[in-house]
């Protein structure tokens, strides 16, 4: 009897704070159980930067605030069977989406950048310029939740979701038995 192939998992952090990736690591000894069933492919955890194989599961932290996020997210969608939005930023834009509140302006993006780099109080920016290195990806007009850019199969809520919630969701997915969350496990009040 041959060992079943380990499931391939890829992860990416888009417009997030890396807190959700920390939460993956935060599952403590469950990590050992998990690693018996999966191998991590493209991910900041492995530093593999492109897909060489199709993956079973893709995990996305953060929403899309710039063009590179969109590019990566689409790449994940094309290369992963099941795509997970992990955490509030991925699900609904989260903290970065606060800039979407600048909307009653003719040029919201410019207003936002000017406040961040030039006009805002307590800013020390000796160049008085908005960063514009050609290597910087262009910003999107607003921050988009992942589900507006590609289809998302599973959402794991929380900021960040706890390691247990992530571990349970992944285990059930691997068993083919995932059908949402118990209400109790995802309430935070």
């Amino acid at each position: 009897m041959t060992e079943p192939r380990k499931a391939r998992v890829a992860t990416a952090s888009l417009a997030g704070c890396f807190g959700c990736h920390m939460a993956i690591l935060d599952m403590d000894e469950h990590l050992i159980d998990l690693m018996q069933r999966v191998e991590i492919h493209r991910s900041p955890l492995t530093d593999i930067k492109s897909f060489r194989h199709r993956c079973d599961i893709g995990i996305i932290e953060g929403g899309c605030c710039n063009e590179e996020n969109v590019h990566v997210l689409r790449d994940f969608r094309r290369n992963c069977d099941v795509l997970i939005a992990l955490g509030q930023c991925a699900i609904m834009g989260g903290l970065p989406a606060m800039r979407n509140a600048v909307m009653h302006s003719d040029a919201p993006l410019r207003e936002c950048l000017e406040e961040a780099y030039i006009t805002g109080r307590d800013i020390r920016n000796v160049t008085h310029n908005i960063p514009n290195d050609p290597a910087l990806p262009l910003l999107l007009d607003k921050v988009y939740p992942c589900s507006e850019v590609v289809e998302i199969d599973v959402q794991i809520p929380g900021c960040a979701p706890t390691g247990d919630v992530i571990f349970n969701a992944l285990s059930k997915l691997l068993d083919g038995k995932f059908d949402g969350f118990e209400r109790e496990s995802i309430r935070f009040d």
Partner: protein
Amino acid sequence: MSTGKNAADEGLEPAASNQVQIEQICAAFDNDHGRMLDILRAVQDAQRVISQDAILRIAELTGLKPIEVEGVASFYAFLSLTPRGRVTIRLCDDIVDRFAGLAEVQAAFETVLGIKTGETSADGAFSLECTPCIGLCDQAPAAMVNDIVLTSLTPESARLFAARLKDGTRPEDLISDRFDDLTPIERARRMVDNNIRHAGCVLLGDVPQDAGLRAAAAATPAQIIESIERSGLRGCGGAGFATGQKWRFASTAGGHRRFVICNADEGEPGTFKDRVLLTERPRLTIEGMTIAARAVGAREGILYLRGEYVYLRELLEDVLADRRVRGLLGSNILGVDGFDFDVRLQIGAGAYICGAEGALISSCEGLPGEPKTRPPFPTTHGYLGCPTVVNNVETFCHAARIMDGGAKWFFDMGIAGSHGTKLFSVSGDCLNPGVYEWPYGMSIRDMLVAVGGEDAAAVLVGGPSGAMIARDMFHRKLTFDDLSTGGAIVIFSGDRNVLEIVEYYMSFFVHESCGYCTPCRVGNVFLQKAVAKFRAGKANPADIDYMRDLSQTIVETSRCGLGMTSPNPILSTLDNFPLVYSAMVKAPEDRLRATFDIQSAISDARHLAKRRSYIFDKDFGA
């Protein structure tokens, strides 16, 4: 200044004369805050605005807080906190008007008056606005000009009317140069054609004057209620509640003061049969109210006339005055000791929600037209907390006829569960739009033949809060138990875009939600956006489920009938015209969202950074 003339007349500063005017208006209503809507309407008419000064003064005089007065003033579309033109033109913006050429008519008014819709001219002479259905779909496009109405407009006639108004012609003189010499009924008929296409034997055929009232005067209240119960009469305003039962509840409710209110708010888009009754059968309407008053023991009545029908005010006031003179209203009606009843007119101010009986009662009480929480029901706790019967105009007319013709005569018409005749207001794509009186039970197919609408691809039965049905359902019948309607039937030919119609009706509900419940106030906005997404070809298959889900939430969590029925345009077309939706759905390629447009999402940044995208501008660097 617009008030310059008045001020000169009275030798006062304009501001001071405005204040005097407000005092006079409030005094005319006994400084009673319960008549706030009348007070504000009068101030709006006289000053073209409810100014902050006016709000302060009215609050002082009526003993309310300024914010309460402002709450009423800001609720109604026909009241305005910013100055409106001395002549305010309101174009009826119903979908039927749009299909009948509203855009060209609107452009004609805009060009000649030199203002855009939504604007007031700099000299304060004109305002041009749009307003939802004004009850003239059988002669669309139509418009209100102050208190008069213009019908069957064309770009040519619109240009002519606008030019004459600009030359200083009074709106009334657009109707007839002898307007002042005409009687109220002549004026109404000049303005509006009532298009009675089929008269049945109950309402629109010959009606003997006050025969029903005479029979009722000779009967006991209990006998009246019993007759109405046995006739099988059900409310004609849309909900179809058994009228006899409603009257019985009110008659047995505690308390000495009771009220009878006639609901002439007729706001459901596509409905105009009450307009016809109020013009052609106003006596019968009041007769029915008087009979109801005897049945439940009410001495006071209110006829709530929608602001859009203010052109019928004089006609109705005349009928009321005439009936008082003839002993048919007032004390000891028809010589019966203790049979006392009188009716006042309450004019609305442009709010669909005021047709819902709770909101209607709030509005009569001088409050913002917000529905009341039920129970308690109006039959026990209605106007001013007293037992109140609210019925539709047509319901009262039927009741009067039943007292004359007998319960059995009425019961034997129609079919089981839906007895008697019903008025249908038919408009849209048919040869003979107008009002038809038929017994209940006619099929849509027969109806379409009768009105010359055989080309119909879709029929909206019961207005936007009813159902939109397709050809394969034209065998269905106009009854309470199959296709129920307060009277609206709007016909759409195959040339019409169903999604455009649905989006229009959703915008109607967005506009008319009173805002009390979040699911209705916010949910309808989301529903409208979702339909717009389908129209633009940007919807995902999942959006269908999303719309159904959201609709369900709105239906289940809304406080009043508006919210509970507002998703109906979407729900009924999803059920009956599924292909219209599926044809517009884009199946996502590679499971990417076709609705997300990266080019437009980065275009701002491209301009700010003054460079192109490494990733998405394919020819970059080439």
